[in-house]
């Protein structure tokens, strides 16, 4: 490690905070605190993505994960009970075995991961490098992410927009258009 690479300690700090928040979410029984902590978790994720130079992902995580999701979870929370029963003290050995096996497999896979920022890693080498080299000639906008998203992968983005639209359609068909409860209240009055 060269001495210029000090941001790795920031990464360690952020991952440690993510772990702490994750454990807190599992342990807590108050739904309001859990919803707030998931927002904190998203915000920490976003900070970590900035540290990894993935600013577009960080932006989305901060806006969607920490912003909209928290509000929607609060809205959903108002429809249900705030506190949950304390979990039983029973040991779930099968679950523990599955988690331990999955964790061991992940640790086993770590040596095969490319070094962070490796220009020859599969993610950076083939198509990724082509995009970085071709965008100035093909499209000539500075943000390669936008170019890939809107132009090279325009079909995919159209699909994503349709998925977002379908999500709203599903929610509106299931929950109504947000006027049902109010009308019922007025009829009862």
């Amino acid at each position: 490690m060269n001495h210029a690479d000090l941001t790795q300690y920031l990464d360690y700090l952020l991952i440690a905070m993510l772990l702490a928040v994750g454990f807190a979410i599992v342990r807590l029984r108050n739904l309001f605190a859990v919803v707030m902590l998931t927002g904190v978790y998203s915000l920490l994720c976003a900070a970590w993505f900035v540290s990894l130079d993935a600013v577009d992902v960080a932006f989305t995580e901060a806006a969607v994960g920490a912003g909209i999701s928290t509000v929607l979870m609060l809205g959903a929370m108002l429809l249900t009970a705030r506190e949950s029963e304390p979990a039983g003290a029973g040991r779930h050995w099968a679950a523990f075995v599955v988690v331990a096996a999955a964790g061991a497999a992940l640790f086993f896979a770590i040596p095969d991961m490319p070094v962070y920022g490796d220009p020859d890693s599969p993610a950076n080498a083939y198509v990724g490098r082509d995009y970085l080299e071709q965008v100035p000639h093909d499209i000539s906008i500075p943000n390669v992410v936008t170019a890939v998203l809107s132009s090279y992968r325009g079909f995919d983005t159209l699909g994503e927009v349709v998925v977002v639209f379908s999500a709203a359609l599903g929610v509106m068909l299931l929950l109504g258009f947000g006027t049902g409860a109010r009308r019922r209240e007025e009829e009862e009055d």
């Binding site: 600013v55 577009d56 960080a58 932006f59 989305t60 806006a63 969607v64 912003g67 909209i68 509000v71 929607l72 809205g75 959903a76 108002l78 429809l79 093909d138 499209i139 000539s140 906008i141 500075p142 943000n143 992410v145 936008t146 170019a147 998203l149 809107s150 132009s151 325009g154 079909f155 983005t157 159209l158 994503e160 927009v161 349709v162 977002v164 639209f165 999500a167 709203a168 359609l169 929610v171 509106m172 929950l175 109504g176 258009f177 947000g178 006027t179 049902g180 409860a181 109010r182 209240e185």
Partner: protein, 152 residues
């Protein structure tokens, strides 16, 4: 006098800034991080903040649910419509391609057409994402009464 006076004053200051920042993210997405998805969420957040502070009914009067429903479909139509337009606008006799923005402008270097296409489809993305986020929020928030004062 409303019990949330400070929140209301602060929110009134913040909401215009949030909207302006949303449009900055939208139209600066080619140069920095951002784009239609993020800008759509930010603009939806401005309205949701308004709904949280001033009540869901005030938000419904400002941004009617009908507009939200129309906007969600309109954005998809704008995006898909740009693709259909490129099918018909290709004058050079080249093979016709859906969402091939080069057809939007007869610039030989292709850059202008690409820029037009990206700006147009990002407007579609912005319209759909902001409308959908609001639609989901309205659907959830419309089912419960406003948050009681003692729970603030």
């Amino acid at each position: 006098m409303s019990p949330h006076l400070i929140l209301q004053v602060v929110a009134k200051l913040l909401i215009p800034l949030i909207v302006v920042f949303g449009f900055y993210v939208q139209f600066h997405g080619e140069y920095g991080p951002g784009g239609g998805f993020q800008a759509g969420v930010i603009i939806a957040v401005a309205v949701i903040l308004y709904a949280l502070i001033f009540g869901i009914d005030a938000a419904r009067r400002t941004v009617p649910p009908v507009a939200v429903r129309v906007g969600a479909a309109l954005g998809v139509l704008i995006f898909a419509g740009v693709g259909v337009a490129t099918l018909f606008m290709n004058g050079a006799g080249e093979p016709l391609n859906y969402l091939d923005y080069d057809a939007l402008h007869p610039d030989q270097g292709h850059h202008t057409g690409q820029h037009y296409g990206i700006i147009l489809i990002e407007i579609g993305v912005l319209t759909t994402v902001s409308s959908v986020m609001l639609a989901i929020f309205y659907a959830f928030a419309g089912r419960v009464p406003d948050i009681p004062d003692e729970e603030w």
